[in-house]
Subunit: 280 residues, 2 copies
């Protein structure tokens, strides 16, 4: 998702230096106007703003705090981490940066590659409100930013987002299983429901996948399990019992363990069908 | 919901005769151009189309088959039942009408009084495809009709709709409980998520109720339990096991039994908070 986000920034005229572990991915942005750096430290040396979009918390830790990036940032610079990482990791990264006079916002996104390409990501931002305000012009190039609270709250909102996504996929799955078993046309049911209280982006996009039996990811089920594990960890630390999230974690985990790890998460419907003895 | 649906029909110029058990409700439509009938039989005697919008299956049974309405309809007339009733009841009503040469469509709706007023209901229609085609101009006055399969499939789609609504309310509840417990601003989280994959009409409307702690119904929790009981009955008859629907039935039922029957179904969040020991 980093590439289309960079292209949004370049199109708007931002002065952008890029680095990627796979040098080809960085070089591909050269023709669009990006300066390609040889190392992460070279990329950030003169930067006012560092934006990271990495796999998870340990990778952010390694690149930013293990490869000299944090030390190379000039005081007053701001690190916007748009990766989805753990709540505790974000809080810890913010604290480390603060000791060096570096600003920090955790700003994970929802909307997928499609949203990144069209500059329509939902961006959930935690951190200092004034810092957020000053960076709205940067965020708005990539999507719709919302300040949700202090450092870590962006990640917390992303977890909340993933909880809703996982459970809603379960909801649409059981609804279509019921409709199909009773002789209704699932594609038509999806169309019909899209106009009422059941309407959602999941019904629209993942519901269509279920109707078409197209489970090429998209969002692989194994990542859904990772997100739900992180949500349940956060819940446990906050002494919360979330019974529906727990059930969905169990269902997605069973699906992954029975061979569905790399299918799109909408393939939960096939797991629930087996469970149900339904012959979709 | 019958009154705003009648007003949509009257505005478009349909010739409408109305009857309601509470005569005042029928008379209120007089100034808009409706003919007010003294009995259900008087209402349908010359009708090409009978539309019913009643509480449940037994009430439809009583009015249509217990008060002489079915016998008073002229052959070739069509009964459109827009009430939410049981799958088996719809199939049985269709069969009874067919024996007298009366057409029948089951056509329950989603979208609430708001959707009925603006003529934007989602209308899920089961029955003969040609009969459906011929009545599209009537349905389109009230909303967006979709033919979903043979008789009964409209009711099945409505159950599918209610399954999604119930589970999605649970999803939004747990997501907001998590965000709130971790120090995020729930109103901002709802705003932020509305742009991404978690976006839904439930997040928008019921999420706002949860943020504002406004649990005046709306849709009372006791009706949500009734809908889930009907969905689970249909599932059982079709030999389906729907674990998420079952869990939501249990949660809503607990909520109703602990005093929440007449709160809006979005108040599930308060029940889950107690459950969680969360201090929203």
């Amino acid at each position: 998702m980093g590439a289309p986000m960079c292209q949004c920034l370049l199109r708007t005229g931002f002065n952008l230096t890029v680095w990627n572990r796979s040098v080809g991915k960085a070089r591909a942005l050269g023709p669009d106007g990006a300066t390609v750096a040889g190392t992460p430290v070279d990329a950030v040396r003169d930067a006012e703003i560092l934006i990271t979009m990495l796999k998870d918390g340990p990778v952010v830790e390694e690149v930013v705090f293990g490869m000299g990036v944090a030390e190379a940032l000039r005081p007053g610079a701001i690190h916007i981490d748009m990766s989805s990482i753990g709540l505790d990791e974000a809080v810890e990264h913010g604290r480390s940066h603060a000791q060096r006079g570096i600003g920090y916002l955790d700003a994970p996104v929802s909307g997928g590659t499609k949203g990144a390409t069209s500059g329509e990501l939902a961006i959930m931002v935690g951190g200092d409100a004034d810092t957020f305000q000053s960076l709205i012009p940067v965020f708005e190039v990539m999507g719709r930013p919302t300040h949700v609270g202090p450092v870590g709250c962006g990640q917390l909102s992303k977890l909340a987002n993933q909880v809703i996504v996982a459970i809603t996929i379960g909801a649409v799955s059981e609804a279509l299983i019921l409709a199909n078993a009773g002789g209704a046309d699932c594609g038509s049911v999806r169309d019909a429901l899209q106009g009422g209280f059941a309407s959602s982006r999941i019904l629209s996009e993942h519901g269509l996948r279920m109707v078409e039996r197209n489970f090429e990811p998209g969002g692989p089920a194994k990542f859904q399990v990772k997100d739900l594990v992180n949500a349940l960890k956060a819940a446990e630390r906050l002494n919360l019992d979330l019974p529906i999230t727990k059930l969905l974690h169990r269902l997605f985990n069973d699906m992954v363990e029975s061979g569905g790890a790399d299918l799109d998460h909408s393939a939960l419907i096939t797991h629930l069908e087996k469970f149900s003895g339904s012959d979709y």
